[in-house]
Amino acid sequence: MIPTFQDYLNVAPIIIVSATALLEIVFQIIFKGFKKYVNIFSILGLLISIYFAIINFDKVSMSFSNMVFSGKYASFFEILFCIIGILTILQSSTIQKYYSINKIEYNVLILISIVGMMVMSAGADLISIFIGLEIMSICFYVLAGFARNQIIANEASLKYFLLGAFATGFLLYGIALIYGTVGTTNIIKIAQHYPIALSLDLHLLGLILLLIGLAFKVALVPFHMWQPDVYEGAITNVSGLMASGGKTAAFASFLLIFSIPLAAGNNNLIEIVSVLAALSMIVGNIFGLVQQNIKRMLAYSSIAHTGYILVGIIATNNFGNHGALFYLVVYSITSVGAFGVASILENEFGKNLNINDYSGLSQKNKFLAFAMSVFMFSLIGIPPFAGFVGKYYLFAAAIQRDLTWLVILGVLTSIVSLYYYLRLIVYMYFRDPENQNNIIVTNDFKIAISFSTIVVILFGIYPSSLFSVIRYIFNIY
C-alpha cells in the first residue's frame, strides 16, 4: 500500500522531531555560530511536535499499513516525551562547563532517543516497537558514555551496551516464537488469536522471552543489575532522561503488548509478572537504604517504582491502567527534576554527589532545597503531592483484582523507603553546610525545575485534571 498524506500527518510529531535532529547536524556544518542557538532550536522543534500531537489527539487511526497508532494513547505519550525532552535540554544548559563535549551532538542524540520513545509508544506492530526500542537504546548507549574521557562513563556505557544487546536477543527470540505461533506480528491481529493462542506452550514461551527483554529495559529485578551502575556513570541529565523517558517508553509498549494477554487471565503469566513486581519493590527499596551516592539512590528508587507501576498493570482493570498512566507521568516529571537538582549541585564530573554534600542545602539555596523536598515527598507518596494519588490508584486497582499480597508488600516497602528519602531532607534542612562551594543556578534551569515542582504539586491537589484526559484516552478500547 502506498502511504497517503494522511499517514504522514498522523505521525507528524515523530517526523518533526527527527527532522529537527537531522537539521541540527546539517546546520552545525553550514552555520559557524549555531552552537549558541542549538538549545532554542531543539526546544522549538519539540514544541511544534507537541502542537501536532495535540491536533492529532482526537482521532485514533493506524497508518503505514497498520504499523503505527496515532491519536489518544500515542499522542498522550508523544506530548509527555516532548515535555521530558524540553526539561532535559533546559537542564543541560550548564553541561558544557564541565565536560569537553560537543553540545550539538548531545542535543541530536537526545532528540533521536525521543523519536525512539515515540515510536515505541505508538507501535501497533511488534516490528515498529522493536525498531523504536533500538533507536532509543542505541542513543542511550552513546549518551551513557558521553563524557568519554572518564573511565566510569566508558564502563557504564559498555555495561549498558552489553546487557542491552543481550536483552535485545531475548526480546527478538520472543517475537520470533510469537510470530511462529500466530503468523503475524500485528498486536491487534495477535489479540484476535487469544485466548486460544495462550494455551500453546510455544506462544507462552515467546511471551515470557519478550517479557524478559522488556524487563531488562525497564529494569525489573532480577534484570536490574545494570541500572545503578549506568545511572552513576552517565552524565546526570542523561540519567534523568533514562529514568523518565526510557522507562516510560518501555512501559508504554509493555502496556500495548501485555495488557491483552494479562487480561485473558493466564495464571502462569500473571504469577510470573507479580513475582517480578514484588521482587522489584523489595530489592529496590532495601538496597536504596544503604546508598551514599545520590544517583545510585535514585536508581534504586527507580527500580522500586517500576515495581509499583507493574502492580497497576497486572491488575488490567480501568483503575490499574489509569493509575499506571498517571503514575508514569508523575514519576517521569519527578525523576527528571530530582536528577536535575543533582546535576546542578555536581560542579565537576562525579563530584558532590554524596549525600553529605547535600547537608545545609536549605541555607545555601532555598529554591533547590524546596524543589528537592517536593520531589522526595512525591516519591514517598505523601498526600498533598502527586505521587500519593498515583500510588493510591495503583494499589486500589490491585485490590479490585484480588492481588492483596502485592498491595501489602507495596505499602510495607513504601514505609521502608521513607528512611532514605527523608534522610536526604533531614540532611538538607537540619544540618549545617559542610563545604562552601557556590551553586550557580541558571535561568533555564529555574524554569525547568519550577515547572516540574508545579506539576507535581498541581497534580497532587487536582488529580482529576489529568485523570479526565486519561479516562478519555481509554474510552475507545
Partner: protein, 100 residues
C-alpha cells in the same frame, strides 16, 4: 523436505550457545560476537517460520534485525575502543569501578 522442527531446534541450539558464551566468556569482543550469534539464530527462526507458513512478514523482520545488528555493532565497537583508550583492557572482570 527437511521438517520445521529441525530448523527450530538448530536455531534454539545456536541461541543457547550465544547465551552461554555471553555468560562465561570474559573478553568484551567475544561477548559481543556471542550476542550477534543470538541475533542470527533469531533470524534463522524467523526465516524457518516464514518459509513454512508462506508468509513474508518473518523475512521482512529479518532485514530489520540485520540493520539493527549492524548499527549496534558500530556503536558497540566504538564504545569498546573508547574504553580501551582509557583502561588498556577489555577484560570484563577488570572493568569493576562501579559496584553496589
Amino acid at each position: 523436505m527437511i521438517p520445521l522442527n529441525y530448523y527450530l531446534l538448530f536455531a534454539a541450539f545456536l541461541f543457547s550457545v550465544g547465551v552461554v558464551g555471553v555468560l562465561i566468556r570474559r573478553n568484551a569482543i567475544i561477548v559481543f560476537m556471542c550476542i550477534e550469534l543470538m541475533l542470527n539464530s533469531v533470524n534463522l527462526t524467523f526465516i524457518a517460520f516464514s518459509a513454512f507458513m508462506g508468509n513474508a512478514i518473518g523475512q521482512m523482520f529479518v532485514f530489520f534485525v540485520m540493520t539493527v545488528a549492524a548499527a549496534e555493532a558500530a556503536v558497540g565497537l566504538a564504545i569498546i575502543i573508547a574504553l580501551f583508550r582509557n583502561k588498556k583492557t577489555i577484560n570484563i572482570d577488570q572493568i569493576n569501578l562501579l559496584k553496589w
